[in-house]
């Protein structure tokens, strides 16, 4: 065992000299940017669609009942499907229907589908954190729904929405590792590539781990800072089961 360890150490040193060269750095940096780009596009669009979804979910009236039900069904379903399964579902659907989308696009679509559901819930909770009496008061003064949202609700809700939405985004940087399974050339795929070239797993995947950490940790810190800055009053009795809520809500070590 001890002998073996020394051998590995030798191999490691030998490979390192070959591995840490400029070309590989460029390759890895590109892969890292792909990871970041698809997370930004996916979660950014997810935020916009999330707002739309919440708007429909909160539109009153019998006429909108089917729309509300569709939206609720959407949100509750896609928060309960593994990202990996959704990725393959989207990929095979796109291919089955003969659409010519790049793998990157397929990954982005999958992220949007999931993040819309999750961020939609985050936004909804943010709006709910603004007390109903604020709506009533605006109603009594003849504000329209949009005017109330614009002048009263959103200025209060964004502080509650932003920290968890950002935390979700940071969490998804890591989840995009799964897109390597449909062949997107991002950070994890780059690790696999080097591992397949014969580089030690400790070296290839170890480097990739460090790069993920470099992407994720500063943003995690930024998220904590944001949370402290906005010192949002979070609902105390958040006892409901919000699928995955805990995963992106952890903060402050």
């Amino acid at each position: 065992m001890y002998e073996g360890f020394l051998d590995i150490f030798d191999v490691f040193l030998e490979q390192s000299a070959e591995f840490y060269v400029w070309d590989n750095a460029v390759y890895l940096f590109r892969a890292m940017m792909t990871t970041l780009t698809m997370t930004i596009i996916g979660c950014g669009l997810g935020f916009i669609f999330g707002m739309i979804v919440v708007y429909f979910r909160r539109t009153p009236g019998l006429m909108f009942w089917p729309v509300r039900m569709t939206v609720i069904f959407y949100v509750e379903t896609f928060r309960r499907v593994p990202f990996l399964v959704l990725l393959f579902l989207v990929m095979f659907t796109v291919k089955g229907f003969g659409l010519d989308f790049s793998l990157f696009t397929i990954a982005c679509i999958s992220i949007v589908i999931i993040s819309t559901a999750f961020i939609g819930e985050i936004i909804r909770a943010g709006l709910d954190s603004v007390h109903q009496t604020q709506w009533d008061t605006a109603d009594a003064m003849n504000f329209s729904r949009l005017q109330t949202l614009r002048h009263v609700i959103l200025p209060q809700a964004w502080k509650v929405v932003l920290p968890p939405a950002f935390a979700f985004f940071v969490m998804f940087i890591k989840d995009t590792a799964l897109t390597s399974q449909v062949g997107v050339l991002e950070l994890t795929q780059a690790g696999k590539y080097y591992n397949n070239l014969g580089y030690s797993a400790i070296l290839s995947f170890g480097t990739v781990l460090v790069l993920y950490f470099i992407l994720s940790y500063p943003m995690t810190r930024l998220g904590w800072w944001m949370e402290a800055r906005l010192h949002t009053r979070r609902r105390d009795e958040r006892a409901e089961f919000e699928v995955g809520a805990t995963a992106y809500e952890l903060r402050g070590t």
Partner: protein, 224 residues
């Protein structure tokens, strides 16, 4: 549209997939409790440990919460054999799940520990509770109540997370879909069915947890 759905062919596979769903539950259950054990010690260490212990635990937590589970899995899966340690895919993935969720659960549980306020304990002390009685009547019930909802959420999240095991050849729900999709080419149908099963499993699990929560801890929780 040049794809013809053939649901019939896909539905034949349902019993096989359900077998996979069972393994999914199994995997998430064992993973959860291993993670919970690590989390418990992590939280205890972080709350009551010395500065070195706290630092070490912090590094562990920060590392695993800022790196993808898939890559740590690759690291273990391909890295350990380089040291001559051979684990089956199932055990590799289990080890990875335990380490990963142990980090998250350290944080969750520490939140529970921190929430026991000094004042409550002082109140108990003034009423003449011994330490054991404090544990029995104040501390443990309080922590259980506070932790029930976040840990339940975490379990549900883990059920979805175990899909990753398929990548390493574990034949849980997603792994079995991988197998059949390659053989039958009814991919869209099979993945849709699997997605539906995940929805069903998690709703079922949430519902059971709601009942347990209300009955055992008097925690008010909702499925949706």
């Amino acid at each position: 549209m040049n794809y013809t759905f053939q649901w019939g062919e896909a539905f034949i596979e349902v019993p096989y997939l359900l077998g996979g769903a069972w393994i999914t539950l199994h995997l998430s259950f064992i993973g959860f409790w291993s993670g919970a054990t690590i989390g418990l010690f992590g939280a205890l260490g972080k709350t009551y440990g010395g500065p070195v212990t706290v630092k070490l635990i912090n590094w562990y937590v920060i590392f695993f919460t800022n790196t993808p589970g898939l890559v740590t899995a690759f690291f273990i899966f391909f890295g350990l054999p380089e040291f001559g340690i051979l684990l089956s895919p199932y055990h590799t993935i289990l080890l990875n799940i335990a380490l990963n969720s142990g980090a998250y659960m350290t944080e969750i549980m520490r939140g529970g520990f921190v929430s026991v306020h000094k004042t409550e304990l002082e109140a108990a002390e003034t009423m003449g509770f011994t330490l054991l009685q404090q544990l029995r009547y104040v501390i443990v019930p309080h922590i259980a109540k506070v932790l029930f909802a976040p840990l339940s959420n975490w379990y549900i999240w883990m059920i979805l997370g175990t899909a990753m095991a398929a990548i390493f050849g574990v034949e849980e729900l997603t792994g079995r879909v991988f197998n059949r999709a390659a053989e039958t080419f009814r991919s869209i149908e099979l993945y849709t069915i699997a997605a539906g099963m995940y929805v069903a499993i998690t709703i079922l699990a949430s519902s059971i947890l709601v009942v347990i929560g209300r009955w055992a801890f008097r925690v008010k929780v909702k499925v949706f």
